[in-house]
């Protein structure tokens, strides 16, 4: 007997239909799975066999051939277990109902027949909906992440027996599928972030981060150890605009594939904040590996990638950030496949001004030689610096400031300004691929960053007097545009340019001369 059951596989963050074809014939008992499955797929044989028996069904001693079509795409992971089990039971005539041909089965089986959670349910659901497969059966543990997908019939079960019973007798369209949840309510309820009002002093750094949030600019914070760089970075995601539902889905998709999703919450409602350690490997950052998984930069998609002690990362690692910073996605080519993961994040990097960290500090002395400092700073190449619009210095704060009861401005009130500036940008770039000032193309800059005579004069003076490098020019224009947006000005004024220039500390080479 032959049966066909649908399931889904993942290539990158998109799903594709997999037909599980099961053929059972008499003869020497055998079990073959074909269709480029990895070891986890091959081992399904033993799990499925035990699961069927232990659920009280029959497993006839016959020759089984399972084909996962299309046969030329690699299949990974244990998510085909359920489909294979249902396929076998249909082919062996234990499930007589054939009306579920348009159902998609996803789930891993345990030997006792219970269904276990799998990675990537959300991206599978999103792709399935787009491809017109509207009925899905998933493990109960994955139910939360499925609740935000509407327009589909999604059923979540705890074990194989429940699934078979549902298909067998019930097969009742009226059994309620999962209820969809309202995103906005969940997103409000889950808010729990570090607040800028608890950060004492550091007014300049906070202002720089506000501008960065408003215009989507990347930031480099320079300061001695213990000056609060990490704290500032952690607060940063709190002043970014809220995730829209579409963005949240995208983020959740990536986390689901990476297996990093908190299954009790189901959907990610906060902008991700990722801070990989500087010993991270290039693959863990970019993604890839034998079983392709998104890396840290993709997990930071629509959120913040925080690289503490930036020059300590290997040079090669830092250079791999170039493409994602430019294009907003990363393409990882491996022997078996090439996958593209989205990776549009705001980079916040922090570093010490020199290897010992005390260069320029008020009360401590730097013991580094000029060569050491030069070497340390030159670890960050020009092309990377080109992609960082804002450089801001952070200094140790005094005990007095630390102990003061004065509350700083709260993240919420900063956020209202950021949101307003983002609205301006959305209106400005309507109908284009650009969403923020930081991502403006050269023609767009020509159009939106026109300078008055006064501004040009100021720029000219700044370049000659402050010895700015050429690469600073475009950065300054973009940041000035954002500052003007924050103030609700349609034109860039000299004070905007002047402020933007103050965020180009490293270009001005007051280090060592």
């Amino acid at each position: 007997m032959l049966s066909k059951v649908l399931s889904y596989g993942l290539a990158g963050i998109d799903g594709f239909v997999v037909n599980i074809e099961t053929d059972i014939v008499g003869g020497v008992p055998r079990f073959d799975i074909v269709g480029l499955g990895d070891t986890a797929v091959k081992e399904a044989k033993d799990r499925v066999k035990a699961a069927i028996r232990n659920s009280g069904f029959e497993y006839p001693t016959k020759h089984y051939t399972i084909n996962l079509a299309p046969a030329d795409i690699k299949k990974e992971g244990p998510l085909y277990d359920l489909g294979i089990a249902v396929g076998i039971m249909t082919a062996s005539n234990q499930i007589k109902n054939k009306k579920f041909v348009d159902y998609i089965f996803v789930g891993e089986l345990s030997l006792d027949g219970s269904l276990k959670k799998v990675r990537g349910v959300l991206p599978i659901l999103i792709s399935a909906r787009a491809l017109g497969n509207k009925k899905v059966i998933i493990p109960h543990e994955n139910a939360e992440e499925a609740k935000f997908i509407d327009g589909m019939k999604i059923y979540a079960f705890r074990n194989l027996k429940e699934v078979v019973e549902f298909l067998q007798d019930g097969y009742d369209e009226d059994i309620p599928s999962l209820k969809t949840k309202n995103f906005d309510e969940v997103s409000k309820a889950l808010c729990n972030k570090l607040d800028f009002e608890n950060v004492k002093g550091q007014t300049q750094a906070k202002r720089a981060l506000e501008i960065a949030a408003a215009g989507g600019h990347n930031v480099l914070m320079i300061g001695p150890p213990g000056s609060g760089k990490s704290m500032l970075a952690k607060c940063f995601s709190g002043i970014l605009p809220d995730l829209t539902f579409e963005e949240a889905l995208e983020v959740t998709k990536i986390h689901s594939i990476a297996g990093e999703l908190d299954l009790s919450k189901g959907i990610i409602t906060e902008r991700p904040f990722r801070s990989p350690h500087h010993t991270a490997s290039a693959v863990s950052l970019t993604g890839g590996g034998t079983n392709s998984k998104p890396g840290e930069i993709s997990l930071a998609h629509n959120g913040v990638l925080y690289l503490d002690e930036f020059p300590e990362y290997s040079r090669q690692l830092i250079e791999t950030l170039r493409q994602p910073l430019e294009d907003g996605n990363i393409t990882v080519a491996r022997a078996n496949q090439t996958v593209t993961y989205p990776s549009s994040f705001t980079l916040i990097a922090s570093m010490n001004p020199c290897p010992c960290g005390n260069f320029g500090a008020k009360n401590r002395e730097c013991k580094c030689t000029p060569v050491q400092i030069h070497k340390y700073l030159s670890k960050i190449s020009g092309p990377i610096m080109d992609r960082i619009d804002i450089q801001v210095e952070v200094d140790n704060i005094s005990y007095g400031e630390l102990n003061s009861n004065q509350k700083a401005e709260s993240s919420a009130s900063i956020k209202t300004r950021v949101d307003r500036a983002r609205q301006v940008q959305i209106a400005r770039f309507a109908g284009t691929q650009t969403f923020s000032n930081a991502k403006m193309s050269v023609p767009q800059m020509k159009k939106f960053c026109t300078l008055s005579k006064d501004c040009q004069f100021l720029m000219e003076q700044a370049f000659t007097n402050l010895k700015l490098s050429a690469r600073a020019h475009d950065r300054i224009l973009k940041v000035a545009r954002t500052i003007a947006d924050l103030e609700g000005q349609s034109e860039i004024l000299p004070q905007h340019i002047a402020e933007a220039i103050s965020y180009r500390g490293l270009d001005r080479k007051y280090w060592g001369i």
């Binding site: 300049q204 001004p353 320029g360 500090a361 002395e365 210095e393 700044a462 402050l466 924050l486 002047a498």
Partner: protein, 362 residues
């Protein structure tokens, strides 16, 4: 000086310098030999008595009159002047020194050697204070017309040169290698600018790579051509010690800028002052007066400031302050404060120091 006029003895010195014959031996040869025609000199047994056999072998191997002539010609074409103790351009200040260089390679304005020179030396890694005083003193002194002499190294050296160039003053850099090997490479452009607007000086032929021992040695030229040496900031084990030793040996006047007694980087100047070896200098005026020059009248640069800018200047008059202090005490919103600070900086009224510090530029 062109090739034709150059006499045998100068050519002899150039050849010796190209073959890295030590200064002392050259001096001895100058006394011993009468005929400096290279061919005759090389076969002269007196040469062998002074030079080691390796050095003799090297000289004989490298002896090629045509090549020597073309090398000299090439150097002149590249704008490198060759100043020997026999040329009229040779600085009088160096002539009587015990370890005088017999030959100097120069690029730039040779007449600077005849002017009043102040050596500004110090650590390669100055603190913010060291940078500030080096720049302030160099600028003021250079403005009055005194030539600033230093070694084109990191730190104080580079700041002093830069400051002199910035105010349109004169400066001489004495480097520890040949002109093809400017060290450190980061100062290549600065060196180029000095060659154009000031004077670049070296006792080594252009292809000579700087060695560990050439750095202290060139300090004797820095001390030698200067009337006085100013030490702005240096640790107790700094290379500046060499310059100090030479200056004292040559009877040059020593100036030092006092610093915080708890700062390692001010140890040398403080020691020199307390031991009476150097005059403590607290104002550039003192140096300008010492040279008998007039300092440029101070113009009140702080005119036409906006209300906020004036407020910032008032706060900074009490000393350097960091950003948070300015923000708290001026009550100017952060964005305005940021832009005012930049404008003031562009106008050359204040300076941004590392770690968010700002100071008035007087």
């Amino acid at each position: 000086m062109n090739e034709k006029k150059m006499n045998e003895i100068e050519k002899f010195l150039i050849f010796m310098s190209f073959n890295e014959i030590p200064n002392k031996k050259q001096e001895t040869l100058l006394e011993l030999l009468e005929d400096f025609d290279l061919e005759h000199a090389l076969s002269n047994p007196k040469m062998k008595s002074v030079l080691s056999s390796e050095e003799m072998l090297k000289l004989l191997k490298n002896y090629d009159p045509r090549q020597l002539n073309s090398t000299i010609e090439n150097m002149l074409k590249c704008g490198i002047a060759i100043v020997t103790i026999f040329s009229e351009n040779y600085p009088q200040t160096l002539f009587d020194l015990p370890e005088r260089p017999l030959i100097l390679y120069a690029k730039g304005n040779l007449s600077l050697l005849k002017e009043k020179c102040l050596a500004v030396v110090g650590t390669r890694n100055p603190t913010a204070y060291g940078k500030l005083v080096t720049e302030r003193f160099s600028k003021k002194v250079a403005e009055s017309g005194v030539v600033i002499v230093s070694g084109l190294c990191y730190g104080v050296d580079a700041i002093a040169h830069r400051a002199a160039l910035d105010v349109g003053g004169k400066t001489i850099a004495v480097i520890a290698g040949g002109f093809n090997h400017i060290y450190p490479a980061t100062n290549f452009n600065l060196g180029k600018e000095i060659a154009e607007k000031g004077l670049l000086l070296s006792e080594y032929p252009p292809s000579f790579e700087p060695k560990r021992y050439t750095f202290p040695k060139r300090n004797r030229i820095i001390a030698g051509i200067s009337a006085a040496v100013l030490i702005t900031e240096a640790g107790i084990r700094s290379g500046t010690l060499h310059t100090k030793e030479y200056a004292l040996e040559y009877g040059r006047d020593m100036f030092a800028i006092p610093g915080n007694i708890t700062s390692d980087k001010s140890d040398l100047p403080n020691d020199l002052i307390s031991s009476g070896q150097a005059d403590g200098i607290v104002s550039p005026e003192q140096i300008v007066k010492y040279f008998g020059m007039q300092s440029k009248p101070i113009q009140n640069k702080f005119v036409g400031l906006s209300f906020e800018e004036q407020e910032i200047v008032n706060l900074l008059e009490q000393g350097e302050q960091n950003f948070d202090f300015l923000a708290d005490n001026s009550k100017i919103p952060v964005n305005i404060l940021n832009s005012c600070l930049t404008t003031l900086e562009i106008r050359g009224l204040i300076r941004k120091l590392p770690s968010q510090m700002y100071g008035l530029l007087i």
